[in-house]
């Protein structure tokens, strides 16, 4: 009963502080839970959609490249242990359209053997019209999922135009599919028709195998791998490989986003700490009295922790509810992609995740208890006799001024920056950030005491008697002599501002690096391709000749891009073949310093240049000899250098187009970079090109357009991070408001005394505004310093370890300065608003109150 009385009494008297703490916890938990639910729903739906394309196969055989020769099929179909072999040709086919309208306008088309697929993947079978049953074998018929029909705005019987190289083919929509997942955009055709219509005669993407009942899958897989090794380069994969591949694809992004969501919760911890600490300071006399009356240390400790736990429980429950509603709303209106581009084209639905809910509830409750623990311990261990006397408030927090815990945190943080990633994730990088942040905040009282003590004499030298001098002297004296309360008030905003600075520097660095990179990789005057993306067949040698002979072209570089799977558990890498300046690859590629001088490379050796991800993920270091499965037997290459690639985080390799064509026999190209003769404008060139026989299907882009589009996509990717940062700062500001309010109330007696000795209300408010402004200025300066240090970790540790790319450091001065000014002004206003309430009471009563 006593616990309840004390709790309700405190809450009734300081409802705003309790509400702010609850809101902070609720927002933190809600953000974390929302991100988790959206990512999980999107990831599960994406995985399920990907799984649904593989049907119920036990194993899959595929080549390292996008397709392989179908001659393997009879051997597998007749294999002793194979009950059923299902040949599949899977293509991402471009839909004719405008570059600016539909960047990712590709449709996934599955070419299936209808008789085998009806056993292996019955959901993917098309439903023809009753009078056209043979459409399922028709060479012009395609069956679309409902989501694809809706997306393309077509219905059964409509024609559908698709791009094949420089040609456009027209298919007939013969019906829908038996059962496609919500939001899944796919089309299904007969495999033979697909090979013919999309110019992939004799090619398959994979062969799905259903094994004889009772077969030992692992043993069969091992035997088959051996058997296939003699026939060429094949990969035998399992469902688990596919799961891992999908998980690997978005894992770093999801983890980073979750970590960012945790920032809000982390900021909330400091807010709870400041709320609870100031509440304990304010109630120091009350707790001392209770101790005198017979409350044991343990009981007092439990009481304060109980109060924190109630705050945490209410905040966490509210956060879970809010998180669920936000996730459901976001998924309904915006889909499952939070900007990373991994989960487009799926329509996930939110599902209550009890395990995660429990986890986030415990997290919310845990951080509240963590925030309450230090103040509770201080209150319980305080000697009640001196605590009954007034003036001991700052002594209550004197332990905060000890520098050692803070220095220890900083030292361990620095140590963590030296440790390698764990499971491809920068776990120690995040721990280092947490330690640096905690260390910085813990050192705040010490630093503020030092700095304000140093400033105090300067203010004392001002002309005595002026209002400014009185305000400055009083404000600085308080900040210098009672730094602990001041510092604790700032902890929340310091945490959020620090992380905001760190994120802003990281994003700015990334953006500037990407911009520079784009300038480097787009040296030509005009670029063209046959389709924006997808498995386009590209330009034939004749078409290339025709292109190159258009008047006005000074130089043309063709390139061929394709996919290569080196590890079944990882996403495919990109293989780009193009002319590369051997004497100085840096002219063509955005090279890092990690390269072998061309003169030192062995003569006649074939060389490749790899992206940074290839070094981290596959160990392709410069000088290493590697084989690539692009021909039989697999040719060897020397890794000549490392280049920066912000476009593909799973790895990319560049090689000479001549080498590629000689090894593979593939004469097609996807892209062309055009340098125009002097006086020829891109518009004139585009007009000339359009007059070619295949000119209508060419898509042109100027470097400026590509850059603008890329940066737009970049900004969209980071929009969610701005939102999360904003919430963290709002929580921080709530903390400042709550802390100043609590402190102002605790100083009612002081204000009453100042009114008695002749200070006006306006002067007292001025003093509070100066205090708030000075304190926040110090907080922003420290936050900036700390944020800059943390940004170094983000730029040089977290990003390379998560996404395998490095970048240069750039500081967005103007934005940060504006944010700092807004923060200082907000804090001064918060201090002013809090003070207005405290000085509005009766000065006579204020000095007579015993609490």
């Amino acid at each position: 009963m006593l616990s309840r009385w004390l709790l309700l009494g405190e809450w009734k008297a300081h409802l705003v502080q309790a509400a702010v703490a609850i809101i902070a916890i609720a927002l933190g938990v809600a953000l974390g839970y929302t991100i988790h639910l959206i990512n999980t729903a999107a990831f599960n739906e994406f995985s399920a959609a990907a799984r649904s394309l593989s049907g119920q196969s036990d194993l899959e055989v595929r080549g390292p490249r996008a397709t392989f020769d179908e001659s393997l099929y009879p051997m597998l179909a007749q294999h002793d242990h194979v009950e059923l072999a299902n040949p599949v040709l899977e293509l991402d086919v471009a839909i004719p359209g405008n570059l600016h309208e539909r960047r990712d306008a590709t449709l996934k088309i599955l070419g299936l053997d209808i008789f085998r697929a009806s056993v292996m993947a019955p959901d993917l079978i098309g439903i023809p019209a009753e009078d056209k049953l043979f459409d399922i074998l028709g060479d012009d018929a395609i069956f679309l999922s409902p989501a694809a029909m809706e997306w393309l705005g077509v219905k059964q019987g409509d024609p559908l135009q698709l791009r094949v190289g420089t040609q456009t083919i027209t298919l007939r929509i013969a019906g829908s599919l038996r059962r496609a997942r919500a939001g899944q955009r796919i089309g299904v055709m007969d495999v033979g028709a697909t090979q013919w219509r999309f110019q992939r005669i004799g090619q398959l993407s994979r062969i799905e195998l259903k094994l004889m009942p009772g077969s030992d899958r692992a043993a069969f897989k091992a035997a088959l791998e051996q058997e296939l090794a003699q026939r060429g380069q094949y990969l035998v994969t399992e469902t688990a490989d596919q799961e891992a591949r999908i998980a690997n694809m978005s894992r770093a992004y999801r983890v980073n986003l979750n970590m960012l969501a945790m920032v809000a919760l982390f900021t909330g911890t400091f807010l709870v700490l400041s709320t609870q600490a100031l509440s304990v300071v304010r109630r120091r006399h009350q707790f001392a009295l209770l101790r005198v009356l017979g409350l044991t240390r343990g009981q007092l400790l439990k009481q304060i922790l109980f109060e924190g736990a109630v705050l945490g429980a209410i905040g966490s429950l509210a956060g879970l509810a809010l998180g669920y509603v936000t996730a459901a709303t976001a998924l309904h209106y915006f889909g499952g992609d939070l900007g990373g581009g991994f989960f487009t084209a799926v329509k996930p639905e939110v599902r209550f995740d009890p395990l995660a809910a429990i986890l986030f509830f415990i997290l919310g409750l845990g951080i509240t208890l963590l925030g309450s623990a230090a103040p509770a311990w201080e209150a319980a261990t305080a000697n009640p006799a001196p605590a009954l006397k007034s003036g001991s408030e700052d002594a209550a927090l004197s332990k905060l001024a000890t520098p050692w815990p803070g220095l220890l945190c900083l030292a361990s943080g620095i140590l963590f920056t030296q440790l390698p990633p764990v499971f491809d994730l920068p776990i120690f990088g995040y721990l280092a950030i947490a330690q640096l942040l905690t260390g910085g905040i813990v050192l705040m009282p010490r630093l503020s005491a030092l700095i304000f003590s140093a400033l105090s004499p300067a203010s004392a030298k001002r002309k005595p008697g002026t209002v400014a001098s009185i305000l400055a002297t009083l404000s600085l004296a308080r900040l210098a002599n009672a730094p602990n309360q001041a510092a604790i008030a700032l902890s929340g905003v310091l945490a959020s501002f620090t992380l905001m600075v760190a994120m802003a520097i990281m994003v700015a660095s990334f953006r500037v690096s990407v911009d520079d990179w784009l300038k480097h990789i787009l040296p030509a005057d005009l670029y063209l391709r046959t389709a924006t993306s997808g498995d386009a067949r590209g330009l034939t040698p004749d078409e290339m000749k025709a292109l190159a002979s258009v008047p006005g072209i000074a130089r043309v570089d063709f390139s061929r891009s394709s996919q290569l799977m080196l590890d079944p558990s990882r996403p495919s890498i990109a293989l780009i073949a193009r002319p590369i300046d051997m004497s100085d690859p840096g002219n063509t590629l955005p090279m890092t310093d990690d390269a072998i001088a061309p003169a030192l490379l062995p003569r006649n050796a074939m060389v490749i240049w790899v992206s940074e991800a290839m070094v981290d993920l596959y160990g392709y270091t410069p000088g290493k000899q590697v084989t690539l499965p692009i021909a039989v037997p697999a040719p060897s290459f020397i890794v000549a250098g490392v280049w920066r690639d912000y476009g593909r985080q799973f790895g990319a390799i560049q090689m000479q187009l001549a080498d590629y064509q000689a090894l593979t026999g593939d004469r097609h190209v996807n892209d062309a970079a055009l340098w125009l003769q002097k006086g020829v404008t891109p518009e004139q060139m585009m007009k000339s090109m359009k007059s070619l026989p295949f000119g209508n299907v060419l898509e042109f882009s100027e470097p400026g357009q590509i850059r603008a589009l890329s940066l737009k996509i970049f900004d969209r990717s980071f929009a969610i991070t701005y939102l999360l940062e904003g919430v963290a700062v709002i929580i921080g500001l709530l903390g400042v408001a709550a802390s100043f309010s609590a402190q102002a109330l605790a100083r009612t007696k002081e204000f009453g005394m100042l009114r008695h000795i002749g200070m006006t209300r306006r002067q007292i408010l001025g003093m509070l505004a100066v205090e708030g402004g000075l304190l926040t200025t110090l907080g922003t300066v420290l936050g900036f310093t700390l944020g800059w240090c943390i940004s170094l970790i983000l730029v040089f540790i977290v990003n390379p370890q998560s996404f395998h790319w490095t970048m240069q450091l750039s500081l967005p001065w103007k934005g940060l300065l504006a944010a700092a000014l807004v923060l200082i002004a907000s804090a001064a206003m918060a201090a002013l608003a809090a003070g207005r309430r405290a000085v509005s009471g009766n000065a006579i009563r204020a000095v007579r109150e015993d609490w």
């Binding site: 017979g294 409350l295 000697n383 609490w851």
Partner: protein
């Protein structure tokens, strides 16, 4: 009831306040302790209450040595056997008068019925009947000290420690409060020690002691303030 044996106590700065102090307080006895500022009166009360520890010497409460008790045991003893009245009242501002007075009973695990009955009884005894649901902010200084007295006695402690209980009150109210406190201490069969600067306040006690650097000694019997004691 209370026995002090050779108590020595120095402050952190090294200044000795109590030197070889010995005294025995009998059951039902009510004494006033006077002395100059800084002589150690409040320190003496803190030592008796177990809120502070002597450098040397022994304090026995009902035969139990305080030094033999750890913090929790001393707290339990204080909770059960002691009542406190302070100069600054120290009434919890967010609790009603009933809740404030009931605090010691709750801490001692009294039943709900007993708590309600006894709290009501004490409210009546200190003249605040019908104001159980009022909050401290609605009371005057004298009324607040009445609440403090009710709280000090509600759980029938054996020893009441009062530190300048009327220091914040006007003389008339102070007199009323002192007589109320004495009456309630006697009615409850408790012992009491009141630390005060006021001769008028000291005069309400059975005996007046003066704390000096040489220890506790009875005040001059001829002092006019002792006339009340003899009545």
């Amino acid at each position: 009831m209370l026995e002090l044996r050779g108590i020595n106590k120095s402050y952190v700065n090294g200044r000795q306040v109590l030197a070889d102090l010995s005294y025995t307080l009998g059951a039902g006895e009510y004494v006033a302790v006077m002395g100059e500022s800084g002589v150690g009166k409040s320190t003496l009360l803190n030592l008796i209450a177990g809120l502070d520890t002597p450098d040397t010497g022994e304090i026995l409460i009902g035969g139990t040595a305080m030094s033999s008790l750890d913090d929790d045991a001393a707290t339990r003893l204080r909770r059960k056997e002691f009542g406190f009245v302070f100069q600054a009242f120290h009434i919890l501002p967010h609790l009603t008068l009933r809740q404030n007075i009931a605090l010691p009973l709750l801490l001692n695990g009294a039943s709900r019925k007993h708590t309600e009955d006894r709290t009501e009884q004490m409210l009546g005894a200190v003249g605040l009947h019908g104001r159980a649901q009022h909050f401290p902010r609605q009371l005057s200084g004298g009324e607040l000290q009445r609440v403090a007295i009710a709280r000090a006695l509600v759980h029938c402690p054996k020893l009441i420690l009062a530190d300048e209980p009327t220091g914040n009150l006007d003389p008339d109210t102070a007199h009323d409060i002192l007589m109320l406190m004495r009456g309630e201490i006697k009615a409850n069969g408790a012992s009491g020690i009141i630390v005060t600067h006021s001769h008028a306040a000291a005069a309400t006690a059975d005996r007046v002691l003066v704390l000096t650097k040489n220890g506790l000694r009875p005040e001059d019997a001829a002092h006019p303030a002792n006339s009340l004691q003899r009545r």
